[in-house]
Amino acid sequence: MSVMPVMECTGITLYRNGYKVLDGVNARLPAGDFVAMVGPNGAGKTTLLKVLLGLLEADAGEVRLFGQPPQIGRLRAGYVPQSGRFDTRFPVCVGELVAHGTLAGGWPLWRRRTAGQEAAITQSLEACGIAHLSKRRIDSLSGGEVQRALIARALAVNPQLLILDEPTANIDPSGQEALFDLLAELNRRMTILVVSHDLGLTTRYARTVWCLNRSLCSHQTVDVSAETLAALYGYPVRVIDHRPDWRST
């Protein structure tokens, strides 16, 4: 008997306008894992995340989040969507944005914020190192700061699983590394699933790599080879192993 995985999906198939976007995706996410999902543009990465969270209905297949249907299990998951799709002129400050994570579902919706919720907001801001920005409007932040605010919002949920969709897309290289350091830190207390284009960072930080191109292959990070990547992307990809020694020990 194995321990119940955080997430398990079998045979996920999804069509969009007659095209097969996801083709029989099987995946299993054990508790405590750090998984990076890679794949070319249009591989269905965001779509798969949305199916896993029950935001999109697959045409076939089944998802279990914490052993439950995604609509129930997702209350224990924190989601960090792509930051590019937000209206940055929206009048909201960082503290208020993070407070959205403490909203609990169900009725009534007019309950006052509790002390526990306030504490969750403060802790999430501190965990992401942005407590000093809590009164700032989001349109005055840098790309990296917005990303940290969105992560803090997901942490305010008090999640056991953190799902991030291309969190490094609008960040400079040193910021990207700092962000992955934060994820590694968070991985001590929660499972992490992150979509990333950056194969270098991915192979350094993640324990497992999911290669998605309509269908999914899972690899341990030590196994990701030039052949695997070439098969995924359809052309040769050079692998630069810049893993520092302290990580390989």
């Binding site: 935001l55 209350l75 209206d87 929206f90 909201v92 959205h100």
Partner: protein, 278 residues
């Protein structure tokens, strides 16, 4: 006699000012959602479709206000249902309901028994004719809108920013969307008293747009209410002094203030950038 001294003695002017201020409340609160969620076109569709309800009220002989409320809420429900799965082309659907509503209204008004002197009032509003009954309607609609928004504010604000995330938190976002459209519909009916259904959209969007730089959604709403009240009162005053149509003058006053605040904001932003560069 000047506007301000007439205000002390003339009941019709007092009613007009009261109606302006009552309209400002919902206008600022719901207008902020309309601007933030970018549903101005949808609000315009609801406003124009309301003519069908007024036409039906004329034809069947019941209160045009009741007809307007029923038509607006029906329009809101239809638009919600049709755009629920976001697969259909929203613009086309809104355009269709917009014009079909107006066409049906025009036909029913034409076929209604007797003369119909009120068509221009519905289309362009006549705030100087607002009576006790309409003021009570406005007060009731205001109370309803403010009560609902206050009660559900955290969920409404979160869903306005990121509907998907709110849904993940277990918030019934589809139901909230319907609720918001109904509130927009009620606000439109309220504003029709002031400016008529053609000019409504300016009052629903411009005061909120003036308040866009506020630090939070709540303060955006409060500022939008103040802007709506200020520009509405200024418009009423100008209309009285110049003997211009009140609704149209209010819209022009609001647009002028919008232009002024926008120019000021841009000028400040440019000066700030210049200061940073130096």
């Amino acid at each position: 006699m000047s506007f301000w001294s007439s205000l002390l003695t003339q009941a019709f002017l007092q009613h007009a000012l009261l109606a302006t201020l009552l309209a400002s409340l919902s206008c600022g609160v719901i207008g902020s959602f309309v601007v933030l969620k970018r549903i101005a076109f949808l609000a315009g569709g609801i406003a124009h479709g309301v003519l069908a309800g007024m036409g039906a009220a004329y034809l069947l002989g019941f209160s045009p206000m009741l007809g307007a409320v029923l038509a607006a809420v029906t329009m809101a429900f239809l638009l919600w249902r049709l755009t629920l799965h976001r697969r259909q082309n929203e613009e086309v659907l809104i355009s269709a309901l917009w014009s079909v509503g107006m066409a049906a209204g025009l036909i029913m008004i034409a076929k209604a028994p007797g003369q119909n002197p009120d068509l221009m009032t519905y289309l362009f509003g006549n705030i100087l004719m607002v009576g006790h009954e309409q003021l009570l309607w406005m007060l009731g609609l205001d109370a309803l809108v403010l009560l609902v928004v206050t009660a559900l504010f955290p969920a409404l604000a979160a869903a306005a920013f990121d509907e998907e995330f709110a849904q993940l938190r277990g918030i019934p976002v589809d139901a909230l969307r319907l609720l918001l459209l109904v509130l927009v519909a009620l606000t439109v009916v309220l504003l029709i008293q002031v400016a008529g259904l053609i000019l409504v959209i300016a009052l629903l969007t411009l005061p909120a747009a003036m308040a866009w730089h506020a630090p939070s959604v709540g303060s955006m709403m409060r500022r939008a209410v103040l802007w709506a009240a200020a520009s509405g009162t200024a418009g009423l005053w100008l209309a009285y002094e110049l003997d211009w149509p009140a609704g149209a003058t209010m819209v022009l006053a609001t647009a002028t203030l919008f232009l002024a605040t926008e120019t000021k904001a841009r000028w400040q932003a440019r000066r700030q950038r210049g200061g940073d560069a130096a």
